[in-house]
């Protein structure tokens, strides 16, 4: 039996990147594993869906209305859970994440060192690769302090969306996942709170390959408030009864 890995790619208007992303994933797949690209189209207004259909290699989950990245990713989780995948990964549709690091992320799950692995630009050998814009770095610092304050865990790269889940973490995420845009920092608190073992793993990242980043300054400030508030709310809740470890 080959190991089944679901690589979930939420995409909104990624017509320029999406096929390259799928290429990148499938080119890095080891022979003894079965990686399935799962593209969740969050109602793109460009040619993303047409390109995915013509390409045909990815499973396409097509959301009928634009619902935000959280809902999109969770749809992928549900697909992966229902179709008995051993591991699931969240992988950005804009080409920032590098599929050659997927095995590194999976490694800590296979060794049972963690339930949930976070690809991080800032641990260990951190001189390589693209480090992010200064605006994003301010956000990263802000969330690091906040998350440490509420959960005691200092994430090295709290806004990274490159994450891997084992079956237990996957099951939890099908049920509990932050709904709206920018779910990453909140998810860390949620997972920590529910006793999942989190491990930061060094991964290089690229700059966006095309398209426009969704974050401008006013939006960034709004998100810092919104997500910061959500983090406090998550921290104040008790553990989820049905799925916690």
């Amino acid at each position: 039996m080959k190991l089944k890995v679901a690589v979930i790619i939420p995409c909104f208007n990624e017509q320029d990147n999406i096929i390259n992303v799928i290429d990148d994933i499938l080119n890095n797949m080891p022979e003894n594993e079965d990686w399935q690209a799962i593209a969740v189209n969050d109602c793109s207004t460009d040619e993303t869906f047409v390109k995915l259909q013509a390409d045909g290699r990815a499973v396409i989950l097509d959301l009928p209305c634009n619902s935000g990245v959280g809902t999109a990713v969770q749809t992928g989780f549900r697909y992966a859970w229902e179709n008995n995948f051993d591991f699931a990964l969240k992988f950005d549709g804009d080409g920032q994440h590098r599929a050659d690091y997927i095995p590194t992320l999976l490694e800590v799950l296979k060794n049972d060192q963690a339930d949930f692995a976070v690809g991080s630009r800032f641990v260990g050998n951190c001189k390589q690769g693209f480090k992010s814009t200064s605006l994003r770095r301010v956000g990263i610092k802000f969330f690091q302090i906040l998350i440490k304050f509420v959960s005691g865990y200092t994430p090295s790269d709290p806004t990274s969306g490159f994450r891997a889940y084992n079956r237990k973490a996957l099951k939890f995420a099908t049920r509990y996942y932050p709904n709206f845009d920018y779910p990453e920092p909140e998810e860390l608190v949620l997972m920590k709170k529910n006793n999942f073992r989190i491990k930061d793993v060094f991964t290089e990242m690229r700059e966006r390959q095309g398209g426009v980043s969704s974050i401008s300054l006013p939006k960034a400030i709004y998100y810092m408030f919104k997500v910061g508030f959500a983090i406090f709310m998550v921290a104040s809740r008790s553990k989820e009864k049905d799925f916690s470890l």
């Binding site: 396409i60 009928p64 549900r78 709904n179």
Partner: protein, 114 residues
Amino acid sequence: MKIQIISIIGSLIFTFFILELIRRKKLKEAYALIWVVMSIFFLILACWVEGLVFISKLIGIVYAPATLFLVLLITVILILIQFSVIISGQVDKIKKLTQELALLKEQVSKLQKK
């Protein structure tokens, strides 16, 4: 006296309007409770003029009509909070339906290919 007649008529119209909406199934009973309570409250106050002064004195408000505004404001705020709660619940339901639909669409297209 004139104002009392006007307020009784006004309150009656309001009460009937709310009840009629429920009767015609334009308004769900569960969401109409606050409205019904509010309309009955205003009907009582319209009939019983000294009541407003009595309640105002009871809670220490000198200017009686201010009590009316206070009650009105509190009711409206409660109704708005109820709306926010309902909307949040609906967001969750819409999310689930959206996801379910996307998963079903995928299954259908897989079956069609076979």
